[in-house]
């Protein structure tokens, strides 16, 4: 067989695998979207029907009235945006000092940072809750926002890997010209690390946007709830409001999908693992 034909066959075989695997990943999602447009009577038909008949667009309107959707959306947005901002401000700064500056205790601190990634959040959860309770932050979104401004170990690690891959020459040149360390970081190195900042920001954004246990612990009043918590309200003693719940889930998921689709190339560039030890 000619090598290029062989290669073609291999590629198309691989593509078939890819399509089959994609089906596994997209079918539940499509079902979610399809259910979000179904009248309640059609949700439980058997055999399952894929196309809503009729398209019940009103589910989307009803869903926003069944729970205080816009309040929850606002709460979720505030928490997500602020905590992402916190990560973007703190993690590159700390990572830069791990990757490019030399200071006493740096290596020990880095090892501790890696070790901290292995502490399950449940171990620190109770004392943290008590701490936040003592300073009166339980029942406010502050415990979900403020810690991000002090760094997240996984994000620091990812950023450090990226900074390690950047050449020292630009930095050295600026240094000889008398630029301060912070200016070098802010004006030269940080702009170069944009893909990594984006990756770290997107990871944080996604995790906080759909976070459940954090809001469950700290948000006590309904007026502060996030969408993740709000979703639970579609499940009640009377049963589950399938269509409405799926409508909100779809509305929650779509913006991030669009974000991921358009940013994935930069996002992927930002994650580098070469030189992990």
């Amino acid at each position: 067989m000619q090598p290029h034909i062989k290669k073609k066959i291999q590629l198309s075989l691989a593509q078939i695998c890819l399509i089959l695997a994609s089906a596994f990943f997209i079918i539940p999602f499509l079902w979610m979207v399809s259910t979000s447009l179904k009248p309640i009577t059609q949700v439980f038909t058997y055999p399952p029907e894929w196309i809503p008949n009729p398209f019940q667009w009103s589910n989307y309107v009803d869903a926003t009235e069944y729970i205080p959707f816009f309040t929850y959306l606002k709460n979720t947005t505030v928490i997500t945006v602020l905590s992402t901002l916190g990560v973007i401000l703190s993690c590159p700064l700390v990572a830069y000092s791990f990757a490019k500056l030399e200071w006493k205790g740096r290596n020990v601190m880095f090892v501790i940072t890696i070790a901290v990634m292995m502490i399950p959040m449940q171990v620190t959860m109770i004392p943290l809750f008590l701490l936040f309770n003592k300073i009166g932050w339980v029942g406010t979104p502050l415990p979900l926002i403020v810690p991000a401004f002090f760094g997240v170990p996984f994000s620091i690690f990812l950023m450090r890997q990226f900074f390690m891959g950047l050449p020292d020459t630009l930095r050295d040149a600026a240094k000889i010209d008398g630029a301060s360390e912070f200016r070098i970081y802010w004006q030269i190195m940080l702009p170069l690390a944009k893909p990594a900042v984006l990756a770290v920001g997107l990871f944080q954004f996604m995790n906080v946007w759909t976070d459940f246990i954090g809001p469950l612990l700290y948000l006590t009043e309904e007026s502060q709830y996030t969408l993740s918590l709000g979703l639970q309200q579609f499940q009640s003693q009377k049963g589950t409001e399938w269509g409405l719940m799926m409508a909100v889930s779809t509305m929650m998921t779509l913006p991030i999908i669009v974000l991921f689709f358009f940013m994935q190339k930069t996002f992927m560039q930002g994650i580098t693992f070469s030189g992990i030890k």
Binding site: W31, M118, Q122, L130, W209, F212, S228, S249, F260, Q264
Partner: protein, 317 residues
């Protein structure tokens, strides 16, 4: 540099070394600058990790709850735990989940990443599709899968029916409830896949070209080039994945509304911990659970680290 010049003037060379030293210092910055840059994290580490970590040891020896100050009871919480049936059950459930989920997630994750690393048209769309489930909120994920796995009208049994298999009662069955959860969790492995993809991108192309020149086929390239060079990333995901598996919470919690039904087959360790802490307010008891979990994870991580020398290969070493 000529040797005679270098030797002829010792002083110059010392001066040079000094100059180089200050130069290096100037370039690398002082210790103070380094600490200053790292200071947010140093504070965060102390406040949000070190302090709670150590105070939870203390709490684990008390009967503390939010409602009352509690008293020091020594090892009583631990002793009580060891005779708590649900505690052992939750450990069993958690280990069961981890033992199946972690290896499966590595095999499937690496295979998916390799597929997503091919040069095929429309890859941006495929990659988005594989990442989709990661973006669906867990609460919705739980409800969605409860529906899909419903024995009466769910899609999964519907599909099995078409090929003549009577599907089990998935989430309602004591035998199938955990496998169902494993399946659901595998659906949302987008994040590790992204990390594998990044790892694949770091493998230099020349290695494949060299292998091709030597006449290596696809299988040889995968097992002799790709997988060995991916081991550092597999190692990373193995550690993070095991830790994550031991912390399984949101999916089973929302799916069973905190009950762990049927017959506590879905009561995972952290769910029981959460109930003790925030439902029954037995914070001391829950802290003891947290520390046992921490020690378990540390031991597991240590074992993984010890074996890693045998199977993890770093590039350029």
């Amino acid at each position: 540099m000529k040797r005679d010049v270098k030797n002829s003037n010792m002083q110059t060379s010392i001066d040079g070394a000094l100059a180089r030293d200050t130069n290096k210092k100037l370039l690398k910055g002082s210790s103070l600058t380094g600490w200053l840059f790292a200071s947010p994290w140093v504070i965060g580490l102390l406040l949000f990790y070190a302090f709670p970590l150590f105070s939870s040891i203390y709490f684990s020896f008390t009967t503390y709850s939010i409602l009352q100050p509690g008293e020091f009871v020594g090892l009583q919480n631990y002793r009580q735990l060891f005779s708590d049936e649900l505690f052992w059950k939750s450990i069993y459930n958690t280990i069961y989940f981890a033992v199946f989920f972690v290896p499966l997630s590595i095999i499937i994750g690496v295979a998916l990443a390799m597929m997503l690393n091919m040069k095929v048209k429309g890859m941006a769309i495929y990659r988005t599709i594989f990442f989709l489930p990661t973006l669906v909120p867990h609460v919705a994920l739980a409800v969605l899968w409860m529906w899909l796995l419903n024995p009466g009208f769910g899609l999964v049994n519907g599909a099995l029916d078409m090929v003549g298999i009577t599907g089990p009662n998935w989430l309602g069955s004591e035998f199938w409830s955990k496998p169902s959860l494993i399946l659901m969790s595998l659906w949302a492995i987008g994040q590790p896949v992204i990390i594998y993809l990044a790892g694949l991108g770091d493998i230099p192309n020349e290695l494949y070209e060299a292998a091709e020149v030597d006449g290596a086929n696809w299988l040889q390239k995968t097992f002799k080039v790709t997988l060995p060079l991916l081991t550092p990333v597999i190692f990373f995901n193995l550690v993070m994945g095991s830790i994550g598996a031991f912390q399984q919470f949101t999916l089973p919690y929302t799916m069973t509304q905190g009950q762990g039904t049927p017959a506590n087959t879905l009561t995972f360790y952290v769910m029981y911990l959460y109930d003790n802490a925030f439902k029954f307010f037995n914070m001391g008891y829950a802290s003891a659970m947290a520390w046992i979990l921490f020690i378990l994870i540390m031991a597991l991580t240590a074992v993984i680290f010890m074996t890693s020398k045998r199977w993890v290969h770093y590039q350029g070493k």
